[in-house]
Symmetry: C2
Subunit: 341 residues, 2 copies
Amino acid sequence: MAGDTLLLDYGSGGKAAHRLIGELFLKHFDNPVLRTLDDAARLELTGPLAMSTDSYVVDPLFFPGGDIGTLAVHGTVNDVAMLGARPRYLSCGFILEEGLDMEVLERIVASMGNAAREAGVCIVTGDTKVVPRGMADKVFINTTGIGEIIANPSPSGHSARPGDAVIISGSMGDHGLTILSHREGLNFSADVRSDSAALNGLTERLLLEVGDIHVLRDPTRGGLATTLNEIAGQSGVVMRIAERDIPVRDAVREGCSFLGLDPLYLANEGKLICILPQEKADAALAVLRQSPLGTEAARIGTIVAADGAGPGRAGQVILETPMGGHRLLSMLEGEQLPRIC
Amino acid sequence: MAGDTLLLDYGSGGKAAHRLIGELFLKHFDNPVLRTLDDAARLELTGPLAMSTDSYVVDPLFFPGGDIGTLAVHGTVNDVAMLGARPRYLSCGFILEEGLDMEVLERIVASMGNAAREAGVCIVTGDTKVVPRGMADKVFINTTGIGEIIANPSPSGHSARPGDAVIISGSMGDHGLTILSHREGLNFSADVRSDSAALNGLTERLLLEVGDIHVLRDPTRGGLATTLNEIAGQSGVVMRIAERDIPVRDAVREGCSFLGLDPLYLANEGKLICILPQEKADAALAVLRQSPLGTEAARIGTIVAADGAGPGRAGQVILETPMGGHRLLSMLEGEQLPRIC
């Protein structure tokens, strides 16, 4: 299909659409469930289940460390995993702009297929819509994932408890800064690349080998600051975070300084937050650091009761600055960084 | 939110995004699973399961008989139901254009909430992305549905057998002609309205009260002709269809004649094809006709073996014309009718 561009016909349900399915999607996603090509996929799966959905509209489509296809697999796999589940199946819905270069589409589809195989999930059902030129920007992808819950109770944003330790699996801001700098043509450092990765291997080890995990969350849109605020609010606790303990790569720190951004509000696509009892913190850090995805894992703070001593009300995140002061790490109104994922 | 327009902030993951979730999605979709607001939904559901996904990009957003919100619920509910499943849960991913009128969004969300309640499904997890003006056309919605399979074996496009009867639940082409005429400003008949409807009540009765259903399929994009061709191909059989037995409303017939379209290639959003042994055909018709969604149900043809007497090779659909002749009802290359659903 090299040199071809996408026609409206490909989204019509007619012969052209069937060729697209056969030559592109079955080629890269092939598995016995998808191959039946019925309106729905039949899955052998036993509950309780986790289900999560995300649409991906990232601009640019390709960037150092990944592309819209890897994000569409990793992002949804990670959301399912964060509920204490083993992700198993993905659906995939494409909205494509007429005139799209078919080589671009095939690169993305191949990338999704590889990411799915690496994460151990199957893409079992899909849909393609083609809209006329100018009615969408090249490629949008929705993936919805389901998996078997392997933790009882499931980790939840509501389950952070006073005394718990707050751990993150690595450096913050890599994905967000990569997208922004690449979009603006500011390739100011070769070291800046997206952390796009599937975290289900890590979460499964945390759940099965460490256990008693109260909260798992991936700090994507809105970054670490927004996600910590969500958890503090859902659990009705105060979170005390030591800024100096948050790993941020030098290149990201420099890029943020140049662009006037705070890495704590930038999206990550291959990092997790794990909140669990203090006495389990070392075991969790050990598990994380054994994986290439968690070599920089760090304990960054503690959950305290809303009525305890010290600053902070229920739902607030208090950042202890390197100088020893305290400031409120608030949730922003909006981050004004569209199309980051 | 009347008078407001959608800002990029609403898709950021920050406070504005949280307000959108609280004031709009929780208001109209409310259920205990969604209310946890974790990254994924925890579902008590045991397999085997059916899973299906569709993105909806229909233009215009509102039309006689429905809107993009009803389609997004009905279309996915129907695809899950066609695998012999009881649809239970939907995910919902919005891609919204900056500047969208918030009243338009709320109308759509309310419409989805109502359609979900009527169909007996819960919207349990969601995602919203906002893209800058001009990067998408107003509203795109993906829904992914899962449900418990209640038929063993599941109906499948591969299961049509020589001797089976082919039944449809009502008139063809209503949805497609409604969208086209409304888009072109050709409101040539007040009688033309979309058939957008959830068919899971009908399919459940067919499966449980009639049984032995070989194929269930909803003839959406590409219409009856395309779907019959898909089934004939998957099952490796010939399908013989009597054109005079296919119900088409007068207003649709006239509209098609005016626009030079064939109603057999126009999308339906509230009709099903049921293929089952001849001896069960009357029972299936009786069940369908008891429902307001199936009053015009009709038996339109028969499955014959590929090597049998008469015209047609494996995978072909032979239309017997009202004059008594035969013609091949082929799958079109593309229908050139983008954004019909």
